[in-house]
Amino acid sequence: MLRSRPLGTSRDEWSDLASAPLMKPPPFDYEDPETLAGALELASRLDNHKLLAGGQSLMPMLNMRFVQPDHVIDLNRIAELAYIDDVDTVVRIGSMTRQHELLESDVIARRLPLMREALEQVGHVQTRNRGTIGGSLCHLDPAAELPCVLMACDGVVEAQSVRGTRRIAMRDFPAFYMTPAIEPDEIVTAIEVAPWAAGHGSAFLEFARRHGDFAQASVAVLIASSPDGAIERASLAVGGLATAPQRIAEAERMLAGSMPTAALVRAAAQACGDIEATDDAHAPAAYRRQLAVALTERALKLALVRSDAANGGLHEPNA
């Protein structure tokens, strides 16, 4: 998927791009290594290269020549980068795992229901059949669902280069608008998420103009409750508003340790009312904030109901 003014281009640059009727990729050299080691070697050696993952964002940008790499390094033949491992306290996902594989995975459904719910709203069947988790993460569209989920889950991104391996907290992963904090020679190889314990409640809600569009605002919520019904731990991430998904620490603080009431939920949601938000021709900042507040309130209620249901349905969150 693409957006109007890609990759932070200036208005003048964009105006040239917008009026050039380009729909066929520019010339580039193409490599499709079959091993990660091969890919890392190429990434360290080739200047002005682009890594081709699922291609659902890079390919439109290539077709429109918004990007003009000298080399395309295709990661699609590297089998070792596509897996979903459930290891004790961590679910580890290879960066080239496709979105449809995640959507169809029992591990994801069981351990990361938040991600499962978000995936249903990622693009369309044709884009999920190609799109990968690593690609979505590195494209880092502010409104993309998976970065928002990983932000809520405190995901860890693993990046490798011939120089070694780095683990980057999701929180530190966005550097700028649509730009991850990785070096040109690095390749994102895996994503790790520590699932919350069974019995937690989660909800992913977004507002998009049409099903499958990038969200104008999205909200990912995780709630863990104690046996007496009090909220033990809460995580709340909002996507689509600013240059990258953001955690709403104030709301999380309000929720943790409190008994869930309608007033509390509303107050927590109101914490989204003054967060950073961008303005554009499609949605003013104030509107995006209002969306975030409304979606947060709904998502919190939903997560609480689900958490309650998972714990035997003893509590009435809206009491």
Binding site: M1, L2, M23, K24, P25, P26, P27, F28, D29, Y30, E31, D32, L52, G55, Q56, M59, P60, L62, N63, M64, V72, D74, N76, H100, G123, H124, V125, Q126, T127, N129, R130, R210, H211, G212
Partner: protein
């Protein structure tokens, strides 16, 4: 230089080998190199779905894959969808589209048929909501989608009947 490459691809059950530019998209490869012009290009930026083809049985946007990426894989296009034994060579899905007027200009139709082919293979008892969700990534400007949905549901009913019998 690696700006061209020789690839072998299975297309509609036939093995095809060509020396191609690496920047050629899969859709352009099918249309330009193989003459399979039933796969249409409606936007070339991955939104309209007109270029949808099946790669290893899964619906993908043909404008968002490079042809080199299809090397060694199996591709199915609208030209490979028919049933040679049936009237006018139409398979169950195609016949349902004709009966229900599921197409007007027919430009988006190949992509829609390929999307539905995957859906009906995976989910033979698809409901109206399943069909609408599956087709949310295919644009049609003529029909308003209503007859497309009816045709898809009719095809599902018939395919189910076949499975049952």
């Amino acid at each position: 230089m690696s700006r061209t490459r020789r690839i072998e691809v299975e297309v509609n059950g036939r093995s095809e080998a060509r020396e191609i530019d690496v920047r050629l998209t899969l859709a352009d490869f099918l249309r330009r190199e193989l003459g399979l012009t039933g796969t249409h290009l409606g936007c070339e930026h991955g939104v309209c779905g007109a270029c949808t083809v099946l790669v290893d049985g899964r619906a993908v946007r043909g404008c968002l894959m490079l042809a080199v990426q299809a090397a060694g894989r199996s591709v199915r296009t609208i030209e490979g969808l028919g049933d040679a034994e049936a009237p006018d060579g139409l398979g169950v899905l195609q016949a349902a589209f004709r009966e229900h007027h599921g197409l007007q200009c027919g430009f988006c139709t190949p992509g829609i048929l390929m999307t539905l082919t995957e859906l009906l293979a995976k989910c033979p008892d698809a409901t109206e909501s399943d069909v609408r969700l599956a087709l949310s990534g295919n644009l049609c400007r003529c029909t308003g989608y209503q007859t497309i949905v009816s045709a898809a549901l009719e095809a599902a009913r018939r395919l189910n009947g076949k499975l049952a019998s």
